[in-house]
Symmetry: C2
DNA sequence: CTGTTAGCGCTTTCAA
DNA sequence: TTGAAAGCGCTAACAG
């Protein structure tokens, strides 16, 4: 006896005593098949180990069933290293939704506009999630595919529907947290305030929540050293009691802030409260667990997945805004 | 005029004045087509925007062209969080090779053995890379698929071909580095020495490189606190000058080691040299940049990808051992 | 080197 | 509710 060939729809149909079309319907439109036939079909399928061939149905339907995460090939940059730690969240967010659906996730690297154009004619995927694609020409090429697409983790764009973080809300959460703990003399440490939109919005949300625009803001360098230096500028005010709380635009910079405070004998949260932003794993390694605003890539990308599936099935292409959450530590 | 339908092989064949089979050959076996016809075919294809339909060829060939990264769905654990930071390297390693090939990468979550069985009959993929799958039953189910498979990042197994790290070599590198810098009184801080194989092998490699088995080893708790506590036990020996170098089994634990040394006024590397293991991003946040053994998931997974492609094309299923590299910091 | 031909396994009208 | 029939777009013998 030859090794049993992979069973096909025909085998199941014959054994179940129905037509091949009925087997197909049992899978794709169960309600249209009589209850008793359906159960026979599935029983036979199970016995035979039959599973519909994805490629054949894809060809016939003209749909691949694949959602692609599009990423640009890139040389490592500093911001890349920062993103790396969150990459697992990107994938988990996507998977949490896609695994529950009939779709599958494929990872595609695009080096050029041509790599994008090919996607549609080559039938590589039914829909696209653009991850950290900063290039407007690429976004336009994606739009030109005329397949469902969303863009996540990118500064505001008007080319593709997007899922993005409410950056102002993060600043507001920080302000509210300080206020709730009785801190009323806030400062803000940031960098590239006017050029990086997220910095701008975090600052804006923070300041607006207080209603007074005169909040002491240090617009220095981002990063550990930058945080250290910026903190030195606030030192006397902290010692005077003119500042009792600092919102730092991101965790990395906050590491430097913490180092500077420690080096100068200032205790957190006794002398000054700190709230950081991003809630990166790096916080686990600090002597004080910082309160931080979680940007939750998980949520952004699970939302993106939901949105793209909704788009494929209902045709709605909208923009979604995800609100960050505050994760409390011991620094307030 | 209706919107131009997606061009097919037939359109290209007609316009190029050749048969459809020749068009197909031009793509799949270019050498078998006369040079001049080939160029006409590609020119026409370009003009028409023709790209071969992946699904149709997959069906016809009986191959999907997809390599799947299989992961178990999991609740977050501590080791998971550790792995998370390296997940981007896993994907980059895979992509660096797969993007250069004709294959594509798909991410599949397996919740149960059944999810694995379905892979073959459903034609979801041609080959499988098992990522951090610790369950032997699952590995066996993968083997039963009889498709090319490799297993990466897992303790030694005999079920599937694997790509794994030479853990002993890491220990050896640390020893050699200490010796090269004139340090001759080593100690080792580890944990679960007998239960975790990687700990066992790192220790073994370290000790063997010295040739003397009497190296002071603290088998304490892993993690930041564990590293702190273990270091306290070595404190007097360090102060006495009986220990001039410490190899720490992983970076996280080394963070605690560093904290304990600092708290006790011991300078790195002046009083004692430190080498850690894993080379995680977390090292960037420490006051002293530690020398560390890079486990390079990137390399492990790019190797895994190469191996699986080799397996598909040449049918060789072998085991590969990847050697870690030492990344020098300022701690030796 | 090239053309003809026979499907891969499935879905979806259409008609019953 | 079901079955018959017509392909989806491509590849791989085979014969020339």
């Amino acid at each position: 006896m030859p090794p049993p060939a992979r069973p096909t729809r025909d085998d199941v149909a014959e054994l179940a005593g129905v037509s091949t079309a009925t087997v197909s319907r049992a899978y794709n439109n169960p309600e249209s098949v009589a209850e008793h036939k359906r159960s026979v079909i599935f029983a036979v399928a199970k016995k035979l180990g039959y599973v519909p061939d994805e490629m054949a149905s894809a060809l016939r339907r003209g749909k691949t069933g694949i959602i692609a995460l599009l990423e640009k090939s890139r040389i490592e940059t500093a911001s890349d290293r920062f993103l790396s730690t969150l990459y697992a969240d990107v994938i988990r967010g996507l998977k949490s939704v896609i695994d529950q659906s009939k779709y599958r996730l494929s990872l595609i690297t695009v080096k050029s506009i041509d790599d994008i154009k090919v996607l549609k004619s080559g039938k590589f995927c039914d829909a696209v999630i653009a991850h950290d694609l900063q290039d407007n020409e690429m976004l336009k090429a994606i739009r030109a595919l005329k397949i469902p697409a969303v863009c996540a983790f990118r500064e505001d764009n008007t080319i593709l529907p997007q899922v993005r973080l409410d950056e102002e809300y993060g600043g507001k959460l920080a302000a509210e947290c300080f206020l709730a703990s009785g801190r009323t003399k806030p400062a803000h440490i940031t960098g590239q305030l006017t050029t990086i939109k997220s910095c701008y919005h975090r600052h804006k949300g923070f300041v607006e929540a207080y209603g007074s625009p005169a909040i002491k803001t240090v617009d220095g360098e981002l990063g550990i050293n930058g945080g250290y230096e910026s903190t030195l500028k606030l030192l006397s005010d902290i010692k005077n009691g003119h500042i009792d709380s600092i919102f730092v635009v991101n965790d990395i910079t906050a590491v430097g802030v913490l180092q500077a405070l420690q080096a100068n004998g200032i205790s957190v949260p006794r002398d000054v409260s700190i709230i950081a932003h991003d809630n990166l794993p790096i916080l686990d390694t600090l002597p004080v667990r910082l309160t931080s605003i979680d940007i939750s890539f998980r949520k952004i990308y699970s939302t993106a997945a939901k949105q793209i599936i909704g788009n494929m099935e209902n045709g709605l292409a909208m923009e979604t805004i995800v609100k960050p959450e505050i994760v409390k530590g011991d620094s307030v």
